[in-house]
């Protein structure tokens, strides 16, 4: 570590946060998300249009000369914090972060970047969402530019027009969604559903080396996912504190009972730690310094905090926490699915064992 990471938010980043939060407050209320999650179209494409078209956020990670905003991972992380706070059903992580980073790593396919950056095209990397950076992943069979096979657990594939498919010849191929069969799987996380993708002689265009592209995409995705998890954990804490100040039992606000105060204080401590770790990962991705360790630390920390925050929120809301109409279940489902997404905390700890030379027996 030659330089210290910048762990704060700049004024511009705070302004960006405020703009995204305003938009989400107006266009992404919990009742709407819940209603949508049970429909045939769980994704909110008009919200996506507002974020991508209206605010240009889908192109944050794409350089300006390639049709994007030329911002850094620090700004994208702030957007994800707010999307996580709202459990927004938009393919931001999958398209604007993961698919975009995969394309940025490829020699060809520059023409596709502008589409993703504008948000008019939604992309999905056809690698199971559970895959950790550096882990093995399934591929399809490539025969003379035509692809055969089936992949599952592909997040947001249902709304993607462009699939980036790794094949057994080591290439990453661009495949149009119209050429494949996408079958939604019943997903634990209703707001970021996964799907099965079947390719039966689908024409693909080879973009570059899959190994490099997938690794980079998943590492960036894992590092920035921590910011989404932070947003969700903060929502859980804030809502629970508010509820416990209001809710009375035994003629006192429930939040005045020490047993509950200590649990919330501990949750706050954990969230403060996650904020530092997530900020560190975003900064490391932006500067390229110490990136592998920063991402692994953030992911080893994030899921346990986000899941526990949602679980505590549910428990401390009492009966209402168990209901379909209260949004805490959206956060619990997202948090639990996120604890598997892009590698479990345990997988990231194992990665650290190598990275910081604390090897297994």
């Amino acid at each position: 570590m030659s330089t210290q990471p910048d762990l704060l938010y700049s004024e511009e980043e705070e302004a960006l946060r405020a703009a995204v939060r305003d938009l989400l407050t107006d266009h992404c209320d919990a009742a709407g998300v819940i209603a949508r999650s049970e429909s045939d179209a769980p994704h909110d494409l008009s919200l996506w249009k507002a974020l991508a078209d209206g605010m240009g956020l889908a192109g944050l990670l794409v350089p300006e000369d390639r049709g994007g905003q030329g911002a850094t991972h620090r700004e994208a992380a702030v957007v994800l914090e707010e999307l996580g706070r709202a459990v927004a059903p938009v393919p931001y992580l999958t398209s604007a972060v993961i698919a975009t980073e995969a394309l940025l790593a490829c020699r060809d396919g520059g023409d596709l970047l502008a589409g993703l950056a504008s948000g008019r095209e939604i992309g999905a990397l056809a690698v199971g969402l559970h895959t950790a950076p550096g882990a093995a992943y399934a591929t399809v069979r490539a025969e003379g530019g035509v692809l055969h096979g089936e992949l599952s657990g592909i997040a947001d594939a249902a709304v993607a027009g462009l699939l980036l498919v790794p094949a057994d010849d080591g290439g990453l191929y661009a495949v149009e969604a119209g050429a494949v069969t996408v079958t939604p799987q019943v997903s634990l996380d209703l707001t970021r559903p996964v799907a099965r993708v079947a390719l039966d002689g689908a024409p693909g265009r080879r973009l570059g080396d899959a190994g490099t592209a997938v690794r980079r995409a998943l590492r960036t995705g894992a590092g920035l996912l921590a910011s989404e998890q932070l947003g969700s954990a903060e929502w859980s804490l804030t809502e629970t504190v508010r509820y416990l100040k209001d809710r009375k039992q035994f003629n006192r606000p429930v939040g005045g009972f020490q047993a509950l105060k200590h649990r919330l204080a501990q949750l706050w401590l954990d969230a403060v730690g996650l904020r530092a770790a997530a900020r560190n990962a975003a900064d490391a991705l932006a500067t390229g310094e110490d990136t592998d360790v920063a991402v692994a630390v953030a992911q080893a920390c994030a899921a346990p905090v986000a899941v526990r925050a949602a679980e505590e929120a549910l428990q401390l809301h009492g009966g209402i926490g168990m209901t379909w109409e209260h949004p805490v279940h959206l956060h619990l489902k997202r948090a639990k699915a996120n604890s598997i997404a892009l590698g479990t905390a345990g997988a990231h700890r194992e990665a650290l064992a190598e990275l910081v030379d604390l090897r297994a027996p």
Binding site: G255, H262, A265, A276, E350, L352, L358, R359
Partner: protein, 393 residues
């Protein structure tokens, strides 16, 4: 107006007048105090220049570069951190001139007579009595956990002067002369074998009324000044990765593969991550302070480090296997300084048990976070309007 350039000029002037190489340590420290470069935010004539506190770093850097002796702030931490701000706010001009210079140079060590055996986290429940006799107060009682009492010349003391009113209102704040008759200091031996703290027995100790700070019965408010200053320096330190208690454990793990087990590996990796997250949290807090946007994170840092130190040192004892059955030395010692990371794994394990008790228990700190940071309601209190003498004990 004093700025960084002016600070450098004044510091160089001091260094020219008293070259560190040829000057005795105490002479240099006295000269530094007299030049207003001891604590630049203090008033002129009292070791400072009435300058912004941030300029101290400029002075310190210049002096360190010149190899000047320092006043070993860790050794006189109670005087610097607790007594000095209270003297500054509540002392008479004469008292300030009498006490502050030898306090800062370390010629006179201070201790703090607040805690009592019967009043731990409920500090205001204290029972040490001070009864007025003419121009004096006569003090009887017992204090505990007193660091440096065996070295101290002076003590800040809170005692009960009116048992007829509720507990917070009947306390008065004094400066106690530790050499007076009736002051008895006994070492308090701890689980580590060391006697780092003391018990102090006060029997008929006479304190002149001129050594009272604040009004009679207003000692609790004065004590808040002292206690609020206890945590001043937090967050200023920049820690490298593995800079804390995790460092020695990671080193042992790397150097001695024969000690490794799968269970310990899982626990070590978890704690390594937690230590790194705590370090980053501290670094973020430091950056916030530098940027002039102090956050509430400081309230949580002590909690996090107490738990981490305990878990990491506990793991380390197990990691050492057969060696973990041993201890370096049980001979009673009286260290002037506590070295939390020094000595061996067994010592670190035992000493870290104090981390969640000293300076506010983790339970009390969690209450503070819940109430002051999250805004949750305080516990209902049954002692607020009851005279101290009528409280159940």
């Amino acid at each position: 107006m004093t700025d960084a350039t002016e600070m450098r000029r004044r510091t160089q002037e001091l260094l020219a007048a008293r070259p560190p190489a040829g000057t005795e340590r105490l002479d240099f420290l006295r000269a530094r105090f007299d030049a207003g470069l001891a604590w630049v935010h203090f008033p002129e004539g009292l070791g400072g220049l009435g300058a912004p506190r941030s300029l101290q770093a400029v002075v310190d850097a210049e002096l360190a570069a010149a190899g000047a002796p320092d006043n070993d702030p860790r050794r006189i931490g109670i005087g610097l951190g607790m007594a000095a701000p209270t003297i500054l706010q509540y002392g008479t001009e004469e008292q300030k001139r009498r006490f502050l210079r030898p306090l800062w140079t370390g010629e006179e060590v201070w201790c703090q007579l607040f805690s009592e055996p019967g009043a731990g986290s409920d500090l205001a429940a204290l029972g040490t009595r001070a009864v007025r006799e003419g121009d004096d107060w006569v003090v009887d009682g017992q204090k505990v956990w007193t660091s440096s009492a065996h070295l101290a010349r002076w003590a800040i003391l809170i005692a009960r002067t009116d048992p007829e009113v509720p507990k917070h209102r009947g306390i008065t704040y004094f400066v106690c002369d530790m050499t007076d008759p009736g002051v008895e200091v006994r070492p308090l031996r701890q689980i580590t074998g060391e006697a780092e703290f003391n018990e102090v027995f006060l029997t008929g100790v006479r304190i002149p009324d001129s050594r009272r700070f604040g009004e009679v019965g207003d000692g609790w408010r004065v004590a808040q000044t002292t206690l609020n200053n206890e945590r001043v320096a937090i967050g200023g330190m920049r820690l490298p990765r593995e800079g804390g208690m995790i460092g020695p454990v990671a080193k042992t793990w790397r150097e001695r593969p024969a000690l490794r087990t799968h269970d310990l590996h899982q626990r070590l990796l978890k704690l390594w991550v937690e230590a790194e997250v705590a370090r980053l949290t501290g670094e973020r807090l430091r950056q916030q302070l530098v940027a002039g946007q102090p956050g509430p994170e400081g309230a949580g840092m002590k909690l996090a480090f107490a738990r981490l130190n305990q878990e990491i040192s506990g793991l380390e004892v197990e990691l050492r296997g057969e060696e973990g059955l041993l201890y370096d030395d049980w001979t009673m010692r009286r260290p002037e300084l506590v070295d939390f990371t020094g000595r061996d794994a067994g010592y670190r394990y035992l000493r870290s048990k104090g981390n969640s008790i000293e300076g506010g228990t983790s339970e009390v700190l969690l209450n503070i976070v819940a109430e002051r940071v999250l805004g949750l309601p305080a516990e209902p209190r049954t002692d607020k309007d009851v005279a101290w003498k009528d409280l159940a004990r």
